[in-house]
Amino acid sequence: MDFNISLTSAAKPNELYDLIIIGGGPAGLTAGLYAARYKLKTLMIEKMAVSGGQLTSTEWVENYPGFPEPVLGQKLAQDMEKQAKLFGLEVITEEVTKVELAGNIKQVITPYAVWKAKAILISTGSSPRLLNVPGEKEYKGNGVSYCATCDGPLYPDKTIAVVGGGNTAFEESLFLAKYASKIYLIHRSDNYRAEKILQDRVNANPKIELMPFFEVVKIDFDNSEGRRLILNSNKTDDSVVPAQAGTHAVFNKELDSRLRGNDGLGDSVENEVILPVDGIFVFIGNDPNTKLFTGLLELENGYIITDRAHQTSVEGVWAAGDVQAKALRQVATAVGDGACAAYWINKYIEDWSE
């Protein structure tokens, strides 16, 4: 049995910090570790009581170097926090509502206090992207989930749909297969971005069925016949025989005929397909958490633009991790960003004067 200890530090708002880190994922925690070792007076503000960001909602991390045996995301996050705190990083649980980035002394405002610092590091990461289909908002937290480690245990011997084609969708499907009896892995094409090794494992798992060329168009959970998804099969390739006149062609004919009611699993309404499920997990990518900084910093598709020193368009403000405009978003790249940003922040603090 595991026992996690993450408690808020007793920080004081009237002090001037060298550095305030907003967001406690791997990038922020690494920057916090380095900054604390540079002896910068550093405060991390994390809205969740538990640091680690998205690391905490994944089960196993297999591609972080140094762990030939896969490491639990939650364990890795906890250890990163512990290590940074060991060197003096203060962590508090508050949600930032506003920032003042101009000038030599920056302000970070929460419902409880106004925090002040010479430099700011933004490591707010990204959040799961929504499907944006009818029924999603209504059933979020009630059958629609974005966190397998949170909600997986609520689906023992149930049927689940997982949406997505990347590493997260494949990894979390494998995790959910420990609880659920059946998983439909739905993706809009057959072009999966998940690493080959994960694809092989999913293919070998008898509980997981791939459904390429399907899109969820509606989460129909208040139907009198039970919870179900309305899917569109969107394969229009000429090489595939149309399932029937007037409908889209279907990639997986065998599956399609099953869904259309030939074996009682579901039935069809015009060119849509009905899939009865108990819940749906959505892993279709992420959107940056930059709402606080819109209009204050230069952004690119919502992500924060930085220079090679990870500094943003405003002097004294840095960004690291998923929230940055960059190519690859991984734990391994986030910790590198965090360490590098801390190095340049330390230089900045050395030259800083009021």
């Binding site: 408690l7 969740m48 009581a49 538990v50 939650q74 009630n142 949170c150």
Partner: protein
């Protein structure tokens, strides 16, 4: 229950307690998933501080206490000082919820609460009773903030009671309250907030429920 390393860490944290705290544990020998483990966990805490007084009650034999504290499931933990603050844990506070337990002990002992002035002003004039049930799983990193917030409200206001409920131990409650995602805070049996709602949002919902 706790290994030596964690015990050391806990010992350091609980050293900041100042006033004594009473922990009432309700257990039974048969048909209780984690009664034994919860008892061992609390014994571990008692072993590192003299500020915690642990009372153990048998659910079958101590019906007066069961009634007094309105215990509904087992194991049940009440964290209190000289008076009952309405703070309950149903199911073992393991995994991420261990932090919620430490948080409750520290809060009751030190009297330090973190609430905005708006919230305090509302609670000062609260007349009607409010019951908060926070449904969690031990592996949910987003759950402790909801539990800590509910317990803080209960500690501050005599009108509020707040329960952590570990869902995997009480699947019938998941069905009864239709919980399919955690955390979920149920207000007065009928209203709910899903996800780790910030203070202001939970307060809005409580106002709606009244």
């Amino acid at each position: 229950m706790l290994d030596d390393k964690i015990k050391q860490e806990v010992s350091k944290i609980l050293a900041t307690m100042n006033q004594p705290v009473t922990v009432e544990l309700f257990t039974q020998e048969m048909e209780c998933g984690y009664c034994k483990e919860t008892h061992e966990l609390l014994n571990d805490l008692v072993s590192v501080t003299d500020k915690i007084k642990l009372d153990v009650h048998s659910f079958e034999k101590h019906s007066a206490e069961v009634e007094k504290y309105q215990i509904e499931q087992l194991p049940a933990i009440v964290v209190m000082d000289e008076k009952d603050r309405g703070i309950r844990f149903y199911g073992i506070p393991a995994g991420y919820e261990f932090s919620s337990l430490l948080n409750a002990l520290l809060m009751v002992s030190t009297g330090v609460v973190k609430l905005t002035n708006d919230t305090k002003a509302f609670l000062d004039y609260l007349q009607k009773p409010v019951n908060l049930k926070v449904f969690v799983t031990p592996t949910c990193p987003y759950c402790p903030p909801s539990v800590m917030l509910a317990h803080t409200l209960a500690f501050y206001s005599d009108r509020i009671t707040a329960e952590m409920i570990e869902l995997s131990e009480f699947p019938h409650l998941a069905v009864k309250y239709g919980v399919q995602g955690v955390p979920r805070t149920v207000i007065n049996e009928k209203w709910f907030v899903e996800g780790a709602a910030p203070e202001a949002i939970l307060l809005e919902k409580i106002k709606e429920a009244l």
